[in-house]
């Protein structure tokens, strides 16, 4: 019986690994080996040239810059956006569970429903608003967009988590004369680790991988990594350098993969701690 379980789990793991395997082995092959067929074969000649090219010399636009400048654009966008939306979510969750007021559930419902809006719908009006606010084509504009469309999720996570946080502790602190922010700062925030991990993983993944907003609302100096990767992969003429494409793809995915590997164990713990409980 246990052997069977191990077998099933391992087979599934192989299935899940397959695309990554294909990408990895083909990113370290010379191009002629790829075009020769055999996408599953291990490389006969091992080379890291595709990785170097993808990072620093592949053709993204008129100049062969590789993906590296765009990597930093992405970092500049993703770090503030994740931090701000997580903090806002925490504050909202705190208000919605510990400072209840009339109709607060309806407000929460409104924020939650907002998670479901397809992004294609908001493209044009959002562009107009960013223009009016003077944020068109800036990293700050992108941060705003990602905060707006992420805050529903982060609020959901923190609200469900704080719902299980003993309200008596909050009341006791109140009686001791602690104010709104002091309670949040001293009592709730220090114990929010697990759910913060869930929120950060979720937001980081979504924002890092976003293409539509990045392509539409950035200009030449703020285009994120996904747009550059798309330019690399989608180039329609000439020889397709699949090995460079795969190396670039893995490079672009590296930060999210890292986040999952490092924070993965806290992820289940965080989910356990709140968001899937009623």
């Amino acid at each position: 019986m246990r052997a069977l379980i191990y077998l099933v789990l391992t087979l599934c793991a192989l299935f899940y690994m397959l695309p990554l395997y294909v990408m990895l082995v083909n990113s370290v092959k010379p191009l002629d080996e790829i075009t020769g067929g055999g996408m599953m074969n291990l490389p006969q000649v091992f080379t890291l040239v595709p990785w170097a090219r993808a990072w620093s010399s592949a053709q993204i636009g008129v100049e062969p810059t590789g993906l590296s400048p765009y990597f930093w654009n992405s970092i500049r966008m993703v770090v503030p956006a994740v931090a701000i939306s997580t903090l806002l979510g925490a504050l909202n969750g705190y208000v919605l569970t510990k400072w209840r007021f009339k109709y607060d559930t309806i407000l929460f419902g409104l924020m939650l429903f907002a998670c479901f809006i397809p992004f294609q719908v908001v493209l044009i009006p959002m562009a107009r608003m960013l223009g009016l606010m003077g944020l068109a084509g800036t990293t700050r504009g992108l941060v705003l967009v990602h905060v707006v469309y992420g805050v529903g999720f982060t609020t959901l996570y923190f609200r469900n988590y704080y719902a299980f946080f003993p309200t008596e502790l909050v009341r006791a602190a109140q009686i001791d004369g602690a104010g709104f922010f002091r309670i949040f700062w001293r009592i709730l925030l220090p114990s929010s680790g697990p759910i913060a991990v869930v929120s950060i993983i979720w937001q980081f993944t979504n924002i890092w991988n976003d293409f539509l907003f990045g392509a539409s609302f950035a200009d030449a100096n703020s285009q994120p990594m996904t747009v550059a990767l798309n330019n690399l992969v989608q180039a329609s003429h000439g020889v397709k350098e699949y090995n460079v494409h795969f190396a670039g793809a893995i490079l672009a995915a590296m930060p999210t993969l890292l986040v999952y590997i490092v924070a993965g164990r806290y992820f289940v713990r965080g989910l356990m701690a709140g968001s899937v409980k009623g």
Partner: protein, 297 residues
């Protein structure tokens, strides 16, 4: 009221502070979500083509929309896709979670492997999947070179079966996340209940069917919400994998809307399809949210 009027500024601030803290998020959502939805609904009644314009045309865009076989195809695909995707992800996620919960020694490694696809965007994995599914170089070819001569797997080239390859890739991407949610749910169940049932001699099958799975109800609901919203937003996947083809066989409402609003310069029809999508989402989500939020009182 009379009491609050006499309150000093500080205590009045204290009462309003929570609402003040909530208000920026709320304002953002009202403007950037509900305002934009209203705008989009309005556009669906206008003659907008390349850019928004404000000539009123009544229901014309809707009547055009329903005359398009392309729209019917994308709705039918949505039905197939959503049902299979949500169903398979839930089944696979639950199965993996139950197996992983049997004190597996390499749980940490396996869990990361199941989860990692969620970390990748389809701009990244689209090419790998395309290769894998392509009969010429992918699975079919590999199996045949390994000696299974009659093996055939060319679904992606078949207009009746291509949608299932989209389901396959989508399940691959998110089932790990669903697994994590169920795993968290399983870990949250009180061990005493399970032990008691085992003492009573319940078989494993009955234990899970009668006791464990009913306890996972909240996890099921969360999974449905997340999967439902991902199903509706599915866009990159189709673009990367099939481009909507063969023919128009794998178009979904999101790709339909994008193509009419942005590449075909028929923003009015695009907005009409968006309105119908939003109404469908609302019809499913509002009862759910109502039930969920009321229960918590």
């Amino acid at each position: 009221m009379a009491v609050s009027a006499r309150m000093d500024f500080k205590s009045r601030l204290r009462i309003w502070l929570p609402k003040l803290v909530l208000s920026p998020s709320l304002a953002m959502v009202l403007v950037f979500v509900y305002g934009f939805i209203a705008f989009s609904v309005y556009l669906s009644f206008t003659d907008s083509r390349l850019l928004p314009s404000y000539g009123w045309v009544g229901w014309e865009n809707y009547s055009k929309l329903w005359r398009l076989s392309h729209w019917e195809i994308s709705l039918a695909n949505m039905g197939i896709f959503a049902a299979l995707y949500i169903g398979s992800c839930t089944a696979l996620g639950l199965g993996l979670a139950i197996f992983l919960d049997q004190k597996i020694r390499i749980e940490g490694v396996l869990r990361t492997i199941y989860l990692y696809p969620m970390a990748l965007s389809f701009i990244v994995t689209g090419t790998a999947w395309k290769w894998f599914l392509d009969p010429g170089i992918g699975l079919e070819n590999v199996m045949q070179t390994w000696g299974w001569e009659t093996f055939g797997f060319d679904w992606i080239k078949n207009r009746n079966l291509a949608i299932y390859t989209v389901v396959l890739a989508a399940v691959w991407q998110t089932s790990g996340f669903v697994m994590a949610m169920f795993l968290a749910g399983l870990r949250g169940i009180d061990n005493e209940i399970i032990k008691a049932a085992q003492i009573d001699g319940a078989s494993n099958w009955n234990l899970y069917r009668r006791i464990v799975i009913p306890q996972l109800r909240p996890a099921f609901l969360s999974a449905f919400v997340i999967l439902g919203h991902l199903a509706i937003k599915t866009f990159d996947l189709v673009i990367a994998l099939t481009g909507g083809g063969p023919g128009r066989a794998t178009e979904l409402p999101a790709t339909f809307m994008y193509s009419y609003a942005f590449t075909r310069n028929q923003m009015g029809i695009g907005a009409a399809s968006a309105t119908i999508m939003l109404m469908t989402i609302a019809a499913i989500m509002i009862p759910y949210l109502y039930a969920e939020l009321r229960e918590k009182r």
